[in-house]
Amino acid sequence: MRDRAIIWSGLAMFLLFATFPFWHNLSAAVTSKGPNPVLPANARQCVAPVEYMKTSHMTLLLDWREQVVRQGRREFTAFNGQRYNMSLTSTCLEQCHSSGKAQFCDRCHDYAAASVPCWDCHVDFKSTLRSAK
């Protein structure tokens, strides 16, 4: 009987938390535009169709790694017959996404909160050079 105030404030707190995405996004003027990664200027076609890359680029990359590190094969023949060197830094970044990972990979990954550990070891010259300056 005397605990109504406590119960109702508990309920109010829960409701506030449960609707957090609504009032947060509305007050922060969030839009549903998406992360908008910078696309390469000099290339039109990725190593696989865009639809595939959008959902499965991580498995492709791990597949590359498997081929290079375990099988010692470095050449990748794409779906359209193009040949690529299977390399995260020198193919993905240097050859095409020369704007660097921050403008491309990170935009999406921050958006979807995907934590990508690859850059602990693989180098992104763009950001390395900038921080070296």
Binding site: M1, I7, G10, F22, V30, K54, S115
Partner: protein, 331 residues
């Protein structure tokens, strides 16, 4: 068997109906807009309604179930957690109950052995399964904030990193995904295996478990095997949160199965046994201090009772009492 099968078919029907409906463009507004808003409204309103109803029921007396010495004289040691007499004790006891399921930890199993002898054994598996399931579910729900909020809250990122600690594969294997499936399967098989538990299992028991299992399975399938475009999903979900729904560009049937099952869970929760989510906070056998004898608790709906005290009685019969030579209090 029949109840579990009907629960299973209902869950499958919801998932398949949503997956099939996502193929028809004219059904999409129903599935992607009406369903989430509708189920969320039912969830919030239903939950509030239940809690408000509970908050209005009178609690005239303390009815904690305790298993420790009550606070009495200063030289008798009292159990502050088992039989709390003050608010901090109650808060600690509730916290242990809600976060660690302490009363379930004391679960026992009785068995009749030759003799005949009744034997009580500890039974911890249910506690472990329940704890594993509930904690995983909480972490998974918080992780889902990454789809609902932009920029992603720090907790969601932190939990994601902790969850993917083992860095197995890509998308990285999340430990709670494995744990939640294992725990749910354990809880389900427990209902089938144990004859007593099977006997008391109702449709709602199976439905709740299978619904959660369906949500977890579609989620796991979507993340690791079918690999839905997480960016497109987030754009769609964000558009819902700002009340400017933009239908997803590439709706996967699997995503909508997951979405519809989660919506079903939200709408079903307030009217089912799953409402223990709110009810656990209001269990009178746990959240009341054991101070019945130390404090006077007046029944809130007491009405004035007509009483006849001894003094009044003595005054009424004074002459007769004195005549009979009986002792009187007030000469």
């Amino acid at each position: 068997m029949k109840t579990s099968l009907s629960a299973l078919s209902l869950v499958l029907a919801i998932a398949l109906a949503a997956a099939a409906a996502s193929r028809f463009v004219w059904l999409l507004p129903l599935l992607a807009v009406a369903l989430p808003y509708g189920t969320l409204a039912i969830f919030l309103a239903g939950l509030s309604w239940r809690v408000v109803c509970w908050s209005r029921s009178p609690v005239p007396f303390r009815i904690p179930t305790v298993c420790g010495q009550q606070k009495s004289l200063a030289w008798i040691k009292s159990a502050r957690l088992e039989s709390p007499h003050s608010t901090p004790g109650v808060v600690a006891r509730m916290a242990l109950e809600i976060l660690l399921f302490r009363s379930l930890f004391r679960n026992t199993r009785s068995r009749l052995e030759d003799g005949p002898r009744l034997i009580q054994r500890e039974a911890k598996w249910l506690w472990l399964g329940a704890l594993a399931f509930h904690w995983s579910l909480l972490i998974i729900l918080l992780r889902h904030l990454r789809f609902f909020v932009e920029p992603v809250p720090k907790v969601a990122v932190l939990l994601e990193n902790l969850d993917g600690f083992f860095r197995i594969g890509a998308p990285v294997l999340l430990v709670t995904d494995v744990v939640v499936l294992a725990a749910l399967l354990y809880l389900l098989q427990r209902r089938f295996r144990d004859p007593q538990v099977r006997f008391i299992s109702l449709f709602t028991d199976y439905f709740a478990l299978l619904l959660l299992l369906g949500i977890a399975a579609t989620g796991v399938w979507m993340r690791y095997f079918a690999r839905v475009d997480a960016v497109a999903v987030k754009q769609f979900v964000l558009s819902l949160t700002i009340f400017a729904p933009a239908l997803p560009k590439n709706p996967g049937p699997l995503f909508f199965a997951h979405f519809a099952l989660a919506g079903t869970l939200a709408a079903y929760l307030p009217f089912s046994k799953l409402m223990h989510m709110g009810g656990v906070f209001l269990s009178p056998t746990r959240n009341l201090a054991n101070n019945n004898r130390r404090k006077r608790h007046i029944n809130p709906w007491n009405y004035p009772v007509k009483v006849h005290t001894y003094e009044e009685w003595e005054a009424e019969f004074r002459d007769k009492l004195e005549a009979a030579g009986l002792p009187v209090e007030r000469p």
